[in-house]
Protein backbone atom coordinates (compact mmCIF):
# COMPACT_ATOMS: atom_id res chain seq x y z
CA UNK A 1 0.00 0.00 0.00
CA UNK A 2 1.00 3.62 -0.44
CA UNK A 3 3.01 5.07 2.35
CA UNK A 4 1.45 8.51 2.87
CA UNK A 5 -0.16 7.52 6.14
CA UNK A 6 2.66 5.37 7.43
CA UNK A 7 3.35 7.48 10.52
CA UNK A 8 -0.31 7.69 11.39
CA UNK A 9 -0.71 3.93 11.01
CA UNK A 10 2.41 3.28 13.08
CA UNK A 11 1.04 5.41 15.91
CA UNK A 12 -2.33 3.67 15.69
CA UNK A 13 -0.92 0.15 15.78
CA UNK A 14 1.55 1.18 18.48
CA UNK A 15 -1.37 2.34 20.59
CA UNK A 16 -3.20 -0.97 20.06
CA UNK A 17 -0.10 -2.93 20.98
CA UNK A 18 0.20 -0.96 24.21
CA UNK A 19 -3.49 -1.68 24.94
CA UNK A 20 -2.83 -5.38 24.31
CA UNK A 21 0.09 -5.38 26.72
CA UNK A 22 -1.48 -3.41 29.57
CA UNK A 23 -3.18 -6.42 31.21
CA UNK A 24 0.13 -8.29 31.32
CA UNK A 25 1.92 -5.21 32.59
CA UNK A 26 -0.57 -4.61 35.41
CA UNK A 27 -0.47 -8.23 36.53
CA UNK A 28 3.32 -8.19 36.49
CA UNK A 29 3.92 -4.97 38.45
CA UNK A 30 1.22 -5.76 40.99
CA UNK A 31 2.61 -9.22 41.61
CA UNK A 32 5.50 -7.55 43.48
CA UNK A 33 3.32 -5.45 45.80
CA UNK A 34 2.19 -6.31 49.32
CA UNK A 35 -1.45 -6.38 50.31
CA UNK A 36 -1.57 -2.81 51.62
CA UNK A 37 -0.15 -1.39 48.44
CA UNK A 38 -2.47 -3.56 46.34
CA UNK A 39 -5.44 -1.90 48.00
CA UNK A 40 -4.40 1.65 47.28
CA UNK A 41 -1.94 1.70 44.45
CA UNK A 42 -2.79 -0.46 41.45
CA UNK A 43 -1.54 1.63 38.56
CA UNK A 44 1.86 2.83 39.69
CA UNK A 45 5.25 1.20 39.86
CA UNK A 46 5.82 -0.85 43.08
CA UNK A 47 7.36 1.18 45.92
CA UNK A 48 9.63 -1.78 46.56
CA UNK A 49 9.72 -5.21 44.99
CA UNK A 50 8.52 -7.90 47.35
CA UNK A 51 9.82 -11.29 46.30
CA UNK A 52 8.30 -12.98 49.32
CA UNK A 53 4.98 -13.15 47.39
CA UNK A 54 6.63 -15.33 44.81
CA UNK A 55 8.19 -17.61 47.39
CA UNK A 56 4.85 -18.22 49.09
CA UNK A 57 2.94 -18.68 45.82
CA UNK A 58 5.66 -21.00 44.53
CA UNK A 59 5.32 -23.38 47.46
CA UNK A 60 1.52 -23.10 47.84
CA UNK A 61 1.08 -23.85 44.17
CA UNK A 62 3.59 -26.69 44.35
CA UNK A 63 4.97 -25.15 41.21
CA UNK A 64 7.85 -27.53 40.49
CA UNK A 65 5.47 -30.47 40.67
CA UNK A 66 2.70 -29.02 38.49
CA UNK A 67 5.24 -27.74 35.99
CA UNK A 68 6.73 -31.23 35.65
CA UNK A 69 3.24 -32.74 35.33
CA UNK A 70 2.41 -30.35 32.51
CA UNK A 71 5.70 -31.20 30.86
CA UNK A 72 5.10 -34.96 31.11
CA UNK A 73 1.61 -34.65 29.65
CA UNK A 74 2.76 -32.41 26.80
CA UNK A 75 5.79 -34.49 25.82
CA UNK A 76 4.07 -37.86 26.22
CA UNK A 77 1.02 -36.77 24.27
CA UNK A 78 3.07 -35.28 21.45
CA UNK A 79 5.26 -38.35 21.13
CA UNK A 80 2.33 -40.74 20.76
CA UNK A 81 0.21 -38.53 18.54
CA UNK A 82 3.13 -37.87 16.20
CA UNK A 83 4.30 -41.48 15.88
CA UNK A 84 0.87 -43.10 15.51
CA UNK A 85 -0.44 -40.41 13.17
CA UNK A 86 2.62 -40.50 10.92
CA UNK A 87 2.46 -44.30 10.57
CA UNK A 88 -1.27 -44.39 9.97
CA UNK A 89 -1.21 -41.45 7.57
CA UNK A 90 1.57 -43.09 5.56
CA UNK A 91 -0.20 -46.42 5.26
CA UNK A 92 -3.60 -44.88 4.53
CA UNK A 93 -2.16 -42.64 1.84
CA UNK A 94 0.10 -45.16 0.10
CA UNK A 95 -2.20 -48.22 0.25
CA UNK A 96 -5.68 -46.91 -0.57
CA UNK A 97 -7.52 -50.21 -0.18
CA UNK A 98 -11.26 -50.10 0.41
CA UNK A 99 -10.74 -50.68 4.11
CA UNK A 100 -8.25 -47.84 4.34
CA UNK A 101 -10.61 -45.50 2.54
CA UNK A 102 -13.30 -46.28 5.08
CA UNK A 103 -10.88 -45.68 7.96
CA UNK A 104 -9.91 -42.34 6.44
CA UNK A 105 -13.52 -41.30 6.14
CA UNK A 106 -14.29 -42.26 9.74
CA UNK A 107 -11.26 -40.33 11.00
CA UNK A 108 -12.33 -37.31 8.99
CA UNK A 109 -15.84 -37.33 10.38
CA UNK A 110 -14.43 -37.68 13.88
CA UNK A 111 -12.82 -34.27 13.48
CA UNK A 112 -16.08 -32.45 14.07
CA UNK A 113 -17.04 -34.20 17.32
CA UNK A 114 -16.51 -31.67 20.11
CA UNK A 115 -15.07 -32.81 23.43
CA UNK A 116 -18.20 -31.87 25.39
CA UNK A 117 -20.21 -34.38 23.37
CA UNK A 118 -18.07 -37.35 24.37
CA UNK A 119 -16.76 -36.31 27.79
CA UNK A 120 -19.47 -38.02 29.83
CA UNK A 121 -18.92 -41.61 28.57
CA UNK A 122 -15.20 -40.94 28.19
CA UNK A 123 -14.90 -40.72 31.96
CA UNK A 124 -16.65 -44.08 32.23
CA UNK A 125 -14.21 -45.62 29.76
CA UNK A 126 -11.23 -44.27 31.69
CA UNK A 127 -12.66 -45.45 34.97
CA UNK A 128 -13.20 -48.95 33.66
CA UNK A 129 -9.56 -49.22 32.56
CA UNK A 130 -8.36 -47.62 35.84
CA UNK A 131 -6.87 -44.54 34.25
CA UNK A 132 -8.65 -41.94 36.36
CA UNK A 133 -6.11 -39.98 38.40
CA UNK A 134 -3.25 -40.99 36.19
CA UNK A 135 -1.12 -38.81 33.95
CA UNK A 136 -0.95 -41.69 31.51
CA UNK A 137 -4.74 -41.63 31.33
CA UNK A 138 -4.58 -38.02 30.17
CA UNK A 139 -1.82 -38.81 27.67
CA UNK A 140 -3.67 -41.81 26.26
CA UNK A 141 -6.84 -39.78 25.81
CA UNK A 142 -4.91 -37.07 23.98
CA UNK A 143 -3.53 -39.75 21.67
CA UNK A 144 -7.07 -40.75 20.81
CA UNK A 145 -8.27 -37.17 20.45
CA UNK A 146 -5.27 -35.75 18.58
CA UNK A 147 -4.79 -38.48 16.00
CA UNK A 148 -7.53 -37.55 13.52
CA UNK A 149 -6.36 -33.96 13.01
CA UNK A 150 -2.68 -34.92 12.85
CA UNK A 151 -3.29 -37.75 10.36
CA UNK A 152 -4.92 -35.25 8.04
CA UNK A 153 -2.09 -32.80 8.41
CA UNK A 154 0.44 -35.56 7.56
CA UNK A 155 -1.57 -37.11 4.75
CA UNK A 156 -1.43 -34.06 2.52
CA UNK A 157 2.30 -33.79 3.02
CA UNK A 158 2.95 -37.49 2.36
CA UNK A 159 1.05 -37.35 -0.93
CA UNK A 160 3.56 -34.73 -2.12
CA UNK A 161 6.58 -36.99 -1.49
CA UNK A 162 7.67 -38.78 -4.69
CA UNK A 163 7.23 -42.55 -4.45
CA UNK A 164 10.51 -43.31 -6.25
CA UNK A 165 12.54 -42.83 -3.07
CA UNK A 166 10.59 -45.52 -1.28
CA UNK A 167 10.59 -47.89 -4.26
CA UNK A 168 14.37 -47.79 -4.44
CA UNK A 169 14.55 -48.90 -0.82
CA UNK A 170 12.18 -51.79 -1.49
CA UNK A 171 14.42 -53.10 -4.24
CA UNK A 172 17.12 -53.39 -1.59
CA UNK A 173 14.72 -55.72 0.20
CA UNK A 174 14.06 -53.72 3.36
CA UNK A 175 10.77 -54.07 5.22
CA UNK A 176 8.07 -51.41 5.17
CA UNK A 177 8.71 -50.59 8.82
CA UNK A 178 12.45 -50.13 8.31
CA UNK A 179 11.94 -48.07 5.17
CA UNK A 180 9.35 -45.86 6.88
CA UNK A 181 11.60 -44.94 9.80
CA UNK A 182 14.75 -44.71 7.71
CA UNK A 183 13.39 -42.71 4.77
CA UNK A 184 9.85 -41.39 5.10
CA UNK A 185 9.78 -40.24 8.73
CA UNK A 186 12.82 -37.93 8.37
CA UNK A 187 11.23 -36.37 5.29
CA UNK A 188 8.17 -35.46 7.38
CA UNK A 189 10.17 -33.06 9.54
CA UNK A 190 8.48 -29.79 8.45
CA UNK A 191 4.95 -31.13 8.93
CA UNK A 192 5.90 -32.81 12.22
CA UNK A 193 7.04 -29.40 13.38
CA UNK A 194 3.69 -27.88 12.44
CA UNK A 195 1.77 -30.64 14.21
CA UNK A 196 3.89 -30.49 17.35
CA UNK A 197 3.55 -26.70 17.52
CA UNK A 198 -0.22 -26.77 17.29
CA UNK A 199 -0.66 -29.78 19.56
CA UNK A 200 1.79 -28.48 22.19
CA UNK A 201 -0.25 -25.37 22.85
CA UNK A 202 -3.36 -27.50 23.06
CA UNK A 203 -1.88 -30.04 25.51
CA UNK A 204 -0.15 -27.39 27.60
CA UNK A 205 -3.16 -25.09 27.90
CA UNK A 206 -6.07 -27.53 27.95
CA UNK A 207 -8.21 -27.41 31.04
CA UNK A 208 -11.36 -29.50 30.93
CA UNK A 209 -9.92 -32.93 30.12
CA UNK A 210 -7.18 -32.97 32.80
CA UNK A 211 -9.62 -31.33 35.23
CA UNK A 212 -12.00 -34.28 34.80
CA UNK A 213 -9.31 -36.97 34.96
CA UNK A 214 -6.94 -35.60 37.59
CA UNK A 215 -8.45 -34.79 40.95
CA UNK A 216 -5.43 -35.58 43.10
CA UNK A 217 -3.44 -32.50 43.99
CA UNK A 218 -0.06 -34.04 43.22
CA UNK A 219 -1.15 -34.81 39.64
CA UNK A 220 -2.41 -31.35 38.67
CA UNK A 221 -1.18 -29.61 35.55
CA UNK A 222 -0.63 -25.82 35.47
CA UNK A 223 -4.14 -24.74 34.33
CA UNK A 224 -5.79 -27.08 36.87
CA UNK A 225 -3.55 -25.90 39.66
CA UNK A 226 -4.16 -22.22 38.83
CA UNK A 227 -7.91 -22.77 38.82
CA UNK A 228 -7.81 -24.56 42.18
CA UNK A 229 -5.52 -21.87 43.54
CA UNK A 230 -7.92 -19.08 42.62
CA UNK A 231 -10.78 -21.01 44.16
CA UNK A 232 -8.83 -21.36 47.38
CA UNK A 233 -7.37 -17.87 47.65
CA UNK A 234 -10.28 -15.82 46.38
CA UNK A 235 -9.19 -12.22 46.03
CA UNK A 236 -5.90 -12.76 47.81
CA UNK A 237 -4.18 -10.95 44.99
CA UNK A 238 -0.77 -10.89 46.67
CA UNK A 239 -0.68 -14.67 46.23
CA UNK A 240 -2.81 -15.00 43.11
CA UNK A 241 -0.86 -12.58 40.92
CA UNK A 242 2.58 -14.14 41.38
CA UNK A 243 0.99 -17.55 40.72
CA UNK A 244 -0.51 -16.16 37.54
CA UNK A 245 2.83 -14.79 36.38
CA UNK A 246 4.44 -18.18 36.99
CA UNK A 247 1.70 -19.82 34.91
CA UNK A 248 2.28 -17.41 32.03
CA UNK A 249 6.08 -17.51 31.93
CA UNK A 250 6.78 -20.96 30.39
CA UNK A 251 4.52 -20.38 27.36
CA UNK A 252 5.85 -16.86 26.82
CA UNK A 253 9.49 -17.98 27.04
CA UNK A 254 8.89 -20.78 24.53
CA UNK A 255 7.03 -18.36 22.27
CA UNK A 256 9.83 -15.79 22.33
CA UNK A 257 12.52 -18.41 21.64
CA UNK A 258 10.76 -20.16 18.76
CA UNK A 259 8.64 -17.27 17.53
CA UNK A 260 9.36 -17.67 13.84
CA UNK A 261 8.58 -21.38 13.75
CA UNK A 262 5.54 -21.11 15.97
CA UNK A 263 3.97 -18.42 13.80
CA UNK A 264 4.64 -20.48 10.68
CA UNK A 265 3.17 -23.57 12.31
CA UNK A 266 0.05 -21.75 13.45
CA UNK A 267 -0.58 -20.36 9.98
CA UNK A 268 -0.03 -23.57 8.04
CA UNK A 269 -2.17 -25.48 10.54
CA UNK A 270 -5.04 -23.04 10.04
CA UNK A 271 -4.87 -23.04 6.29
CA UNK A 272 -4.63 -26.81 5.91
CA UNK A 273 -6.66 -27.86 8.94
Amino acid sequence: MKTKYKTLLSVLIGFCVVLFLIPFYLVLINSFKDNAELLTNILSWPKRFILDNYQRAFSQLNYTKVFINSLIVTIGSNAGVTVFSAMAAYRLERYPTRMNKVIKLVLLSGLIIPFQVIMIPLMKVLKSIHLINSLFGVILTYWGMGIAFTVFLFRGFISSIPKEVEEAAFIDGSSLMYMFWKIVFPLLKPVIFTAVTINTFWFWNDFLLPQLILSKKELQTIPIAINAFFGQYVMKWDLALPALVMAIIPAVVVFICFQKYIVEGMVSGAVKG
Binding site: M1, K6, P114, M119, P121, E166, F255
Partner: protein
Protein backbone atom coordinates in the same frame (compact mmCIF):
# COMPACT_ATOMS: atom_id res chain seq x y z
CA UNK B 1 4.12 -51.82 -4.02
CA UNK B 2 3.07 -55.46 -4.02
CA UNK B 3 2.86 -57.27 -0.70
CA UNK B 4 2.17 -60.89 0.07
CA UNK B 5 -0.97 -61.56 2.09
CA UNK B 6 1.05 -62.17 5.23
CA UNK B 7 3.11 -58.98 5.00
CA UNK B 8 0.02 -56.99 4.11
CA UNK B 9 -1.78 -58.07 7.27
CA UNK B 10 1.35 -57.55 9.34
CA UNK B 11 2.01 -54.06 7.95
CA UNK B 12 -1.60 -53.00 8.13
CA UNK B 13 -1.67 -54.10 11.78
CA UNK B 14 1.49 -52.31 12.77
CA UNK B 15 0.79 -49.07 10.94
CA UNK B 16 -2.94 -48.58 11.25
CA UNK B 17 -4.25 -50.70 14.12
CA UNK B 18 -2.96 -48.49 16.98
CA UNK B 19 -4.72 -45.50 15.45
CA UNK B 20 -7.93 -47.45 14.89
CA UNK B 21 -7.93 -48.75 18.48
CA UNK B 22 -7.17 -45.35 20.04
CA UNK B 23 -9.70 -43.56 17.89
CA UNK B 24 -12.45 -46.10 18.54
CA UNK B 25 -11.84 -46.21 22.28
CA UNK B 26 -11.63 -42.49 22.89
CA UNK B 27 -13.87 -40.99 20.20
CA UNK B 28 -16.21 -43.45 18.47
CA UNK B 29 -17.23 -45.54 21.44
CA UNK B 30 -17.92 -42.57 23.75
CA UNK B 31 -19.82 -40.87 20.97
CA UNK B 32 -22.10 -43.86 20.34
CA UNK B 33 -22.46 -44.38 24.08
CA UNK B 34 -23.42 -40.74 24.54
CA UNK B 35 -26.02 -41.06 21.81
CA UNK B 36 -27.50 -44.18 23.43
CA UNK B 37 -27.58 -42.76 26.97
CA UNK B 38 -29.39 -39.68 25.72
CA UNK B 39 -32.48 -41.92 25.49
CA UNK B 40 -32.20 -43.09 29.07
CA UNK B 41 -32.40 -41.92 32.61
CA UNK B 42 -29.04 -42.62 34.13
CA UNK B 43 -27.08 -41.15 37.02
CA UNK B 44 -23.76 -42.45 35.77
CA UNK B 45 -23.18 -44.73 38.73
CA UNK B 46 -25.75 -47.51 38.79
CA UNK B 47 -25.89 -50.19 36.12
CA UNK B 48 -29.57 -49.64 35.57
CA UNK B 49 -30.58 -47.82 32.43
CA UNK B 50 -34.15 -46.74 32.38
CA UNK B 51 -35.19 -46.27 28.78
CA UNK B 52 -37.34 -43.22 28.36
CA UNK B 53 -37.28 -42.69 24.60
CA UNK B 54 -37.11 -39.14 23.37
CA UNK B 55 -38.42 -37.57 26.55
CA UNK B 56 -34.96 -36.21 27.43
CA UNK B 57 -35.01 -34.33 24.15
CA UNK B 58 -38.51 -33.01 24.76
CA UNK B 59 -37.38 -31.86 28.19
CA UNK B 60 -34.33 -30.13 26.69
CA UNK B 61 -36.56 -28.12 24.38
CA UNK B 62 -38.45 -26.76 27.37
CA UNK B 63 -35.48 -26.35 29.65
CA UNK B 64 -35.29 -22.63 30.39
CA UNK B 65 -31.67 -22.71 31.54
CA UNK B 66 -30.58 -24.66 28.50
CA UNK B 67 -32.33 -22.28 26.12
CA UNK B 68 -30.87 -19.29 27.93
CA UNK B 69 -27.42 -20.77 27.67
CA UNK B 70 -28.05 -21.59 24.01
CA UNK B 71 -29.07 -18.03 23.20
CA UNK B 72 -26.12 -16.65 25.15
CA UNK B 73 -23.66 -18.88 23.28
CA UNK B 74 -25.04 -17.78 19.91
CA UNK B 75 -25.05 -14.08 20.86
CA UNK B 76 -21.51 -14.24 22.19
CA UNK B 77 -20.31 -16.15 19.12
CA UNK B 78 -21.90 -13.59 16.79
CA UNK B 79 -20.42 -10.60 18.64
CA UNK B 80 -16.91 -12.02 18.94
CA UNK B 81 -16.81 -13.35 15.36
CA UNK B 82 -17.72 -9.96 13.90
CA UNK B 83 -15.50 -7.82 16.13
CA UNK B 84 -12.45 -10.11 16.19
CA UNK B 85 -12.48 -10.45 12.41
CA UNK B 86 -12.81 -6.70 11.80
CA UNK B 87 -10.00 -5.91 14.25
CA UNK B 88 -7.81 -8.76 13.02
CA UNK B 89 -8.28 -7.65 9.42
CA UNK B 90 -7.43 -4.03 10.28
CA UNK B 91 -4.28 -5.15 12.11
CA UNK B 92 -3.31 -7.26 9.10
CA UNK B 93 -3.86 -4.40 6.65
CA UNK B 94 -1.75 -2.06 8.78
CA UNK B 95 1.05 -4.53 9.46
CA UNK B 96 1.46 -5.39 5.77
CA UNK B 97 2.23 -1.69 5.02
CA UNK B 98 5.90 -2.39 5.78
CA UNK B 99 5.93 -0.10 8.81
CA UNK B 100 8.86 -0.28 11.18
CA UNK B 101 8.60 -2.82 13.98
CA UNK B 102 5.78 -4.77 12.37
CA UNK B 103 7.36 -8.14 13.29
CA UNK B 104 7.44 -7.11 16.95
CA UNK B 105 3.89 -5.74 16.83
CA UNK B 106 2.69 -8.96 15.23
CA UNK B 107 4.23 -11.07 17.98
CA UNK B 108 2.69 -8.98 20.76
CA UNK B 109 -0.73 -9.21 19.16
CA UNK B 110 -0.60 -13.02 19.02
CA UNK B 111 0.64 -13.33 22.57
CA UNK B 112 -2.79 -13.71 24.26
CA UNK B 113 -3.61 -16.54 21.86
CA UNK B 114 -0.84 -18.82 23.07
CA UNK B 115 -2.01 -18.79 26.69
CA UNK B 116 -4.61 -20.97 28.38
CA UNK B 117 -8.14 -19.58 28.51
CA UNK B 118 -8.16 -20.23 32.25
CA UNK B 119 -5.12 -18.00 32.74
CA UNK B 120 -6.55 -15.27 30.49
CA UNK B 121 -9.75 -15.28 32.51
CA UNK B 122 -7.87 -14.75 35.76
CA UNK B 123 -5.67 -12.00 34.29
CA UNK B 124 -8.79 -10.12 33.28
CA UNK B 125 -10.54 -10.81 36.54
CA UNK B 126 -7.84 -8.66 38.09
CA UNK B 127 -8.17 -6.01 35.38
CA UNK B 128 -11.96 -5.78 35.66
CA UNK B 129 -12.06 -5.90 39.44
CA UNK B 130 -9.01 -3.77 40.26
CA UNK B 131 -7.32 -2.27 37.21
CA UNK B 132 -10.23 -0.56 35.48
CA UNK B 133 -11.79 0.88 38.67
CA UNK B 134 -8.36 2.29 39.62
CA UNK B 135 -8.09 3.82 36.15
CA UNK B 136 -11.58 5.28 36.57
CA UNK B 137 -10.54 6.91 39.85
CA UNK B 138 -7.39 8.32 38.31
CA UNK B 139 -9.13 9.85 35.31
CA UNK B 140 -12.45 10.65 36.97
CA UNK B 141 -14.34 8.80 34.24
CA UNK B 142 -17.04 6.80 36.00
CA UNK B 143 -17.44 4.42 33.08
CA UNK B 144 -14.28 2.51 33.98
CA UNK B 145 -15.46 2.00 37.53
CA UNK B 146 -18.69 0.17 36.70
CA UNK B 147 -19.17 -3.29 38.10
CA UNK B 148 -17.82 -5.12 35.06
CA UNK B 149 -18.52 -8.66 36.17
CA UNK B 150 -21.55 -7.83 38.31
CA UNK B 151 -24.41 -7.36 35.85
CA UNK B 152 -25.46 -9.58 32.92
CA UNK B 153 -24.90 -6.88 30.27
CA UNK B 154 -21.47 -5.79 31.48
CA UNK B 155 -20.40 -9.40 32.01
CA UNK B 156 -21.45 -10.18 28.42
CA UNK B 157 -19.26 -7.40 27.06
CA UNK B 158 -16.43 -8.23 29.43
CA UNK B 159 -16.25 -11.69 27.92
CA UNK B 160 -16.47 -10.26 24.41
CA UNK B 161 -13.56 -7.91 25.17
CA UNK B 162 -11.36 -10.72 26.48
CA UNK B 163 -12.29 -13.09 23.62
CA UNK B 164 -11.49 -10.43 21.04
CA UNK B 165 -8.20 -9.75 22.83
CA UNK B 166 -7.50 -13.48 22.71
CA UNK B 167 -8.58 -14.27 19.15
CA UNK B 168 -7.94 -11.24 16.94
CA UNK B 169 -4.18 -11.90 16.86
CA UNK B 170 -4.59 -15.35 15.40
CA UNK B 171 -7.14 -14.15 12.86
CA UNK B 172 -4.69 -11.36 11.95
CA UNK B 173 -1.98 -13.95 11.19
CA UNK B 174 -4.19 -15.74 8.69
CA UNK B 175 -5.20 -12.44 7.04
CA UNK B 176 -1.56 -11.36 6.83
CA UNK B 177 -0.73 -14.59 5.00
CA UNK B 178 -3.64 -13.95 2.64
CA UNK B 179 -2.60 -10.36 1.92
CA UNK B 180 1.01 -11.37 1.30
CA UNK B 181 -0.18 -13.87 -1.31
CA UNK B 182 -1.38 -11.02 -3.54
CA UNK B 183 1.30 -10.72 -6.27
CA UNK B 184 3.30 -7.48 -6.03
CA UNK B 185 2.97 -6.68 -9.72
CA UNK B 186 -0.83 -6.63 -9.49
CA UNK B 187 -0.64 -4.07 -6.69
CA UNK B 188 1.92 -2.00 -8.59
CA UNK B 189 -0.11 -1.94 -11.77
CA UNK B 190 -3.24 -0.99 -9.81
CA UNK B 191 -1.39 2.01 -8.42
CA UNK B 192 -0.03 2.81 -11.88
CA UNK B 193 -3.64 2.92 -13.08
CA UNK B 194 -4.34 5.47 -10.37
CA UNK B 195 -6.17 3.33 -7.83
CA UNK B 196 -6.58 4.76 -4.31
CA UNK B 197 -5.76 2.76 -1.19
CA UNK B 198 -9.43 2.08 -0.55
CA UNK B 199 -10.01 0.92 -4.12
CA UNK B 200 -6.98 -1.32 -3.91
CA UNK B 201 -8.23 -2.96 -0.73
CA UNK B 202 -11.76 -3.35 -2.01
CA UNK B 203 -11.12 -4.56 -5.55
CA UNK B 204 -7.74 -6.29 -5.41
CA UNK B 205 -7.01 -7.45 -1.86
CA UNK B 206 -10.47 -8.53 -0.71
CA UNK B 207 -11.08 -10.95 -3.62
CA UNK B 208 -7.73 -12.58 -2.80
CA UNK B 209 -8.75 -12.86 0.85
CA UNK B 210 -11.91 -14.91 0.22
CA UNK B 211 -10.37 -18.19 1.43
CA UNK B 212 -8.90 -16.40 4.46
CA UNK B 213 -12.34 -15.01 5.34
CA UNK B 214 -13.81 -18.51 5.32
CA UNK B 215 -10.96 -19.90 7.47
CA UNK B 216 -11.07 -17.06 9.99
CA UNK B 217 -14.81 -16.73 10.33
CA UNK B 218 -15.34 -20.44 10.88
CA UNK B 219 -12.36 -20.63 13.20
CA UNK B 220 -13.83 -17.91 15.43
CA UNK B 221 -17.34 -19.39 15.22
CA UNK B 222 -16.23 -22.85 16.32
CA UNK B 223 -13.88 -21.50 19.02
CA UNK B 224 -16.73 -19.50 20.52
CA UNK B 225 -19.42 -22.15 20.21
CA UNK B 226 -17.18 -24.52 22.18
CA UNK B 227 -15.97 -21.90 24.65
CA UNK B 228 -15.45 -23.19 28.18
CA UNK B 229 -12.24 -22.02 29.87
CA UNK B 230 -12.57 -18.27 29.66
CA UNK B 231 -16.06 -17.79 31.16
CA UNK B 232 -15.34 -20.62 33.58
CA UNK B 233 -12.49 -18.67 35.15
CA UNK B 234 -13.65 -15.09 34.53
CA UNK B 235 -17.31 -15.18 35.57
CA UNK B 236 -18.04 -18.84 36.44
CA UNK B 237 -20.99 -18.42 34.08
CA UNK B 238 -22.51 -15.69 36.21
CA UNK B 239 -24.04 -13.40 37.23
CA UNK B 240 -27.33 -15.33 37.34
CA UNK B 241 -26.02 -17.82 34.74
CA UNK B 242 -26.03 -15.02 32.18
CA UNK B 243 -22.63 -16.03 30.75
CA UNK B 244 -23.01 -19.78 31.05
CA UNK B 245 -21.93 -21.18 27.67
CA UNK B 246 -23.41 -24.44 26.38
CA UNK B 247 -20.14 -26.19 27.15
CA UNK B 248 -20.25 -25.09 30.80
CA UNK B 249 -23.97 -25.85 31.01
CA UNK B 250 -23.51 -29.44 29.80
CA UNK B 251 -20.52 -29.92 32.11
CA UNK B 252 -22.59 -28.85 35.11
CA UNK B 253 -25.59 -30.99 34.16
CA UNK B 254 -23.41 -34.09 33.96
CA UNK B 255 -20.70 -33.62 36.55
CA UNK B 256 -22.34 -31.41 39.17
CA UNK B 257 -25.94 -32.66 39.01
CA UNK B 258 -25.03 -36.19 37.87
CA UNK B 259 -27.78 -36.30 35.24
CA UNK B 260 -25.85 -38.31 32.69
CA UNK B 261 -28.76 -39.25 30.45
CA UNK B 262 -30.20 -35.75 30.39
CA UNK B 263 -26.71 -34.25 30.02
CA UNK B 264 -26.05 -36.52 27.04
CA UNK B 265 -29.26 -35.37 25.36
CA UNK B 266 -28.10 -31.77 25.79
CA UNK B 267 -24.70 -32.70 24.39
CA UNK B 268 -26.39 -34.24 21.35
CA UNK B 269 -28.43 -31.10 20.67
CA UNK B 270 -25.18 -29.14 20.99
CA UNK B 271 -23.53 -31.53 18.54
CA UNK B 272 -26.34 -30.96 16.08
CA UNK B 273 -25.59 -27.21 16.09
CA UNK B 274 -21.89 -27.88 15.52
CA UNK B 275 -22.75 -30.18 12.60
CA UNK B 276 -24.91 -27.49 11.01
CA UNK B 277 -22.04 -25.01 11.13
CA UNK B 278 -19.64 -27.60 9.69
CA UNK B 279 -22.01 -28.37 6.82
CA UNK B 280 -22.20 -24.68 5.91
CA UNK B 281 -18.41 -24.47 6.06
CA UNK B 282 -17.88 -27.54 3.87
CA UNK B 283 -20.41 -26.27 1.33
CA UNK B 284 -18.65 -22.91 1.16
CA UNK B 285 -15.29 -24.64 0.70
CA UNK B 286 -16.67 -26.79 -2.12
CA UNK B 287 -18.05 -23.71 -3.83
CA UNK B 288 -14.71 -21.99 -3.48
CA UNK B 289 -12.95 -24.95 -5.10
CA UNK B 290 -15.51 -25.02 -7.91
CA UNK B 291 -15.04 -21.31 -8.64
Amino acid sequence: MKESRKTRILNQTMFVLPTVILFSTFIIFPFVFSFVTSFSKWNGVSNVFQWIGVSNYLKVMEDEHFLKSFVYTIENTAAVTVIANIIGLLFALILTCKIRGSKFFRSVLILPNILSGIVLGFIWKFIFMKGLPAFGELTGIDFFGISWLGTPTTAFWSIVIVSVWQMSGYVMLVYITGILSVPDNIIESAYADGASNIQLIKHIIFPYLKPSFVVCIFWTISKNLLMFDLPFSLTQGGPYKSTETLAIHIYREAFEKNNYGYGSAKAMVFFFVVILVSIVQITLNRKKEAD
